[in-house]
Amino acid sequence: MTNILKKEWGKIADLASAINAGETSAVANVKESLRLIDEAKEYNAVLHLTKTRALDRAKKIDELVKSSKSAGRLAGVPFIAKDNYLTFDTETTAASNILAGFKAPYQATVIEKLEAEGAIMVAKANLDSFAHGGSTENSDFDPTKNAVDPARVPGGSSGGSATAVALGLAPFALGSDTGGSIRQPASFSGIVGLKPSYGSVSRYGVVAMASSTDCMGPMTANTEDAALIYDVIAGQDTKDSTTTPRKDNNYTKLSDSKLKIGVIKEHMSDGINKEVRSSISEAVDKLKTDGHEVTEISIPELEYSLACYYIIIPAEISSNLARYDGIRFGFSNRKDQDLEGLFNTTRAIGFNSENKRRIMIGNYVLSSGYYDAYYKRAQKVRTLLIKGFEKALEQVDVLVGPVTPNTAFKIGEKFNDPVAMYLEDLLTVGVSLAGLPAISVPVSSAEGLPVGMQITGKYLDDKTVLSAAKTVQDLYA
């Protein structure tokens, strides 16, 4: 493995200012990003490049600046999108064989919003296929390696995006988070990852996994960048009727006022790696010393969150993945057979084992005779979980704890044990089921591997979550 130097791009706002002032060129930024991606090939963070479109857009931005016009708040800033975002000029595969070769006829709302502010997409990042997984090992196009230790997983499902940002291949990347898929890889890779409040960012044009928890968000080198990207992408979208009006007109103006912070008791229990707990405790102590009011809070319903998640999410997956039938797009097994044969073999070949497990579990919990015992019951437990979070967040501004029970594990270590892999999502899925905003921000490493603190806030109070994350970041500066 070549030891590549981590590129420091600096703050995104400064990068864009330098472009708008004519001090640097968008073309130079794009070329630098493409060069770094090429140099870091062995990490397999990136699946496809969008070189032609990126360079064309960069030239246009440079021309705009030359004619003394502002090219936007993200002028000439390269970024990498997870390959489940629909984008022009390249394939969108969701890292699945069943979508290999698919070229999107339109772009995701998030991509459109970023481009409108001058950001330039240079590549698409690897993921667990259809975002099913927590290690990026479920990609149909080989695993991504961890930026800190290439023998380990980067986390997942947004593992390609995490490694890309951790190596500095671009100043930021987009991820998607259904049960932890932005926060967990951010934690494993030592970067910042924001899962916004459900519905605050449009899901339009992103390959659906579980529609009631899917959230689109930024993965960045620092909290200010996460706030800026969120500020650009947040807002109601007529193309996604679950989106909500913005709660705040400027998410980049973070507050430094003292906070009431609740440490989640259940997330600091014996089941969590001791080193991880001690990194989190150290961060909590720093917050106390900094004058924040810290208390311990119990949310007993959290005990049921993972079981609840692994009923509801497969149910939604089985429904969302029903569209891959080999008829309208994607892989199609057309070998002299009838329609039903085509469906069954296309899906048998096109989906991988984890996709199939989730589809089948989903169909099981939704099938007659089991619906009430599993799916409906899980939706009731979800109500209790939401109430548990609400009650806790009546007492404090934010809740904190670790993002993951362990640090990044070795590639292959949990691959053949689906339940062990699911247990890695233990601390992130509850927040997803409740639709709350949460962030992973790096604290001290444990045995040389990154640890992230998870900060969770009230629904639509993404600003306080970002402010708290900046406070933590500054305590380690």
Partner: protein
């Protein structure tokens, strides 16, 4: 404890429109059973009188004007279709 039989796996495969080979069934049965046994945990919690959650965006009845907008052309949308004939999506014989 939830258990799942070979026949149920076959039925699930059919419901899921996924062809499963005979030698895959037992492994799949074991994996599905392990997952179901984990989620059985939910049976321990009392949910009497609790309403199920349908969605979490706290939005209700979002309306928009029903207006025609240009987005993609037929040609653009048919580009990804595996088999096209005279502007139609072609499927294998049904019967």
């Amino acid at each position: 404890m939830s258990t799942i039989s070979i026949d149920e796996v076959k039925k699930l495969a059919k419901l899921s429109a996924i062809k499963v080979e005979d030698d895959e069934i037992d492994g799949l049965r074991q994996e599905l059973e392990n997952i179901l046994q984990y989620v059985d945990k939910l049976k321990d919690i009392n949910v009497e009188g609790v309403e199920p959650t349908i969605q979490v965006s706290r939005q209700q009845n979002v309306f928009r004007e029903d207006v025609v907008k240009d987005q993609n052309t037929q040609d653009e949308l048919l580009k990804n279709v595996p088999e096209v004939q005279s502007g139609y999506i072609k499927v294998p014989k049904v019967l």
